[in-house]
Amino acid sequence: MTRFEVIEVMKRIIADNLDDMNVDNIDPQKSMKDYGANSLDMIEVVSCSMRELNIKVPRAELAEIQDIDGLADKFMEYIDT
């Protein structure tokens, strides 16, 4: 799976989980918080994404990630292996 495809999966799940969001309006250089996500929304988005990508990344490794791009990079580490 390519990084582009990973971001597409995440965008779709963000749009499904957050109010008034459209896939085309999501900028990967922004944080989910910028789109009004609370911590519970973020857990839901991360969990759904990991299930769909069939990876298991420890939540403890996600603590300092700043934006959707950063999350995609972390997911890619696990997809490659």
Binding site: N38, L40, R51, P58, R59, A60, A63
Partner: protein, 418 residues
């Protein structure tokens, strides 16, 4: 998972991928039974063999040995759970009323002692009325769930307790979280909720950090946006304010607080929770708050003890004064070692260790073997970059016990002795 097992935590097993609904997540057993993970979990559910005084004995799960320890983990901040007058009052209430209330408060569970204690708590908190719950968690869940509805907005500080979040989830209200104590971010959230019924929720003392809310500014914003305010004074009741009424008294804003919550399990030394507000709202809550309506009323024996605990803690300031002297002594000692205590302003003092879970657990083990019982607090209870110990200071601490505590912390954390 094999090569990074310690990076996983309970946060990673919330969603269950096992098709068998009676099974645990597929990797959960492998993870929790790993020797390193089992060692980390040995710091939890350790049996305390005596009363939760500062000086007590525990059966250590590290090696099964019984150890005499200095216990800075219990919430018995004022020592009231073992105060002789409190014990005597509990025994008297036990003799008169028996062990349980044998009914929900609405039906047959309300005794004269419950009504009297609720009245006295309302008077103490300078509010019109009070509702009692069998647990602190139940009180927070029940108050939020009982008041808020789908279409309403609940705005919480991101460090608020799980019970408040659970209440919000149950209520169906839209929940927004603002960055801890960040007034600009709170204002942004209030803008989003503009025109809706909105309740802003903060804590008196944040339980993992020991810091206080910026209450005056928070209330100003609530007033501008016509939002209600809810303060969780679990760790601050009987501790803060000239009369021990809490952080709202400390900041001189009690009359501006809409709803005031407290627990009976921390400074009070018993168990239960209470919510104080205006009379009509408390009356309304009794119609819709499930943990009140559908749970047995608090044990009358415990209420008897709690009534005395309120007397003892408020008849003068001696317990509070001793507590604050101990807080200052310990804080100065810990600061003198250069430890990171965060922004603590209270009797809850974190020692922030940082990223390494291995270090945190190593220190916890060494300190326990030296006779100091400190609870390690790991991710996801706190962020992964700020794993910590949380110290609960008590008025019961003697100078010798404080010096011994400081010496063990210095040896283990600063000097690295094992």
């Amino acid at each position: 998972m094999a090569n990074n097992i310690l990076n996983f935590s309970l946060a990673d097993f919330f969603y269950n991928d096992n098709p068998d609904v009676l099974g645990t997540p597929l990797d959960f057993e492998k993870w929790i039974n790993h020797s390193d993970v089992r060692k980390s979990f040995s710091f939890f559910e350790q049996e305390i063999l005596e009363a939760p005084r500062v000086s007590t004995r525990i059966r250590s799960k590290l090696d099964g040995k019984v150890r005499k320890v200095i216990n800075l983990t219990s919430y018995n901040y004022l020592g009231l759970s073992t105060h002789p007058e409190v014990i005597a009052a509990t025994k008297a209430a036990l003799d008169k009323y028996g062990l349980g209330s044998s009914g929900a408060p609405l039906l047959s569970g309300t005794f004269d002692i419950h009504t009297e204690f609720a009245r006295r708590l309302a008077e103490f908190k300078l509010k019109e009325d009070c509702i009692l719950y069998s647990s602190g968690l139940g009180a927070n869940v029940g108050a939020i769930q009982g008041i808020m509805r789908k279409g309403d907005y609940l705005i919480l500080d991101e460090k608020c307790h799980k019970s408040l979040i659970d209440g919000g989830n149950l209520s169906g209200a839209k929940m927004l979280f603002f960055t801890h104590n960040d007034m600009k971010n709170l204002e942004l959230m209030l803008e989003k909720a503009k025109g809706k019924r909105t309740l802003v929720v903060v804590e008196g003392v944040y339980s993992m950090d020991g810091d206080l809310p910026r209450l005056t500014e928070i209330l100003e914003l609530c007033e501008i946006y016509r939002a209600g305010s809810y303060i969780d004074e679990a760790h601050s009741t009987l501790i803060f304010g000239e009369n021990g009424r809490g952080v709202a008294e400390h900041f001189g804003v009690e009359d501006r607080i809409g709803i005031s919550f407290g627990t009976l399990s921390k400074s009070f030394g018993g168990v239960g929770g209470f919510v104080c507000s205006n009379k009509p709202l408390i009356r309304y809550l009794k119609g819709y708050s499930s943990p009140w309506n559908f749970s047995c009323a608090p044990s009358p024996a415990v209420i008897g003890g709690l009534m005395k605990a309120l007397d003892v803690a408020t008849r003068d300031s001696s317990l509070r004064d001793t507590l604050w002297a101990n807080v200052n002594y310990m804080r100065n000692g810990l600061k003198g070692m250069g430890l990171n205590l965060g922004e603590s302003e209270s009797q809850v003092i974190p020692i922030i260790i940082g990223h390494s879970g291995e270090k945190l657990m190593g220190y916890a083990e060494s300190m326990q073997k030296r006779g100091l019982f400190l609870q390690p607090v790991d991710f996801p209870a706190v962020p992964a970059y700020s794993r910590r110990f949380r110290i609960s200071i008590s008025s019961q601490l003697s100078r010798n016990e404080m010096d011994e505590t400081l010496s063990i912390i210095e040896d283990v954390i600063i000097k690295g002795f094992r």
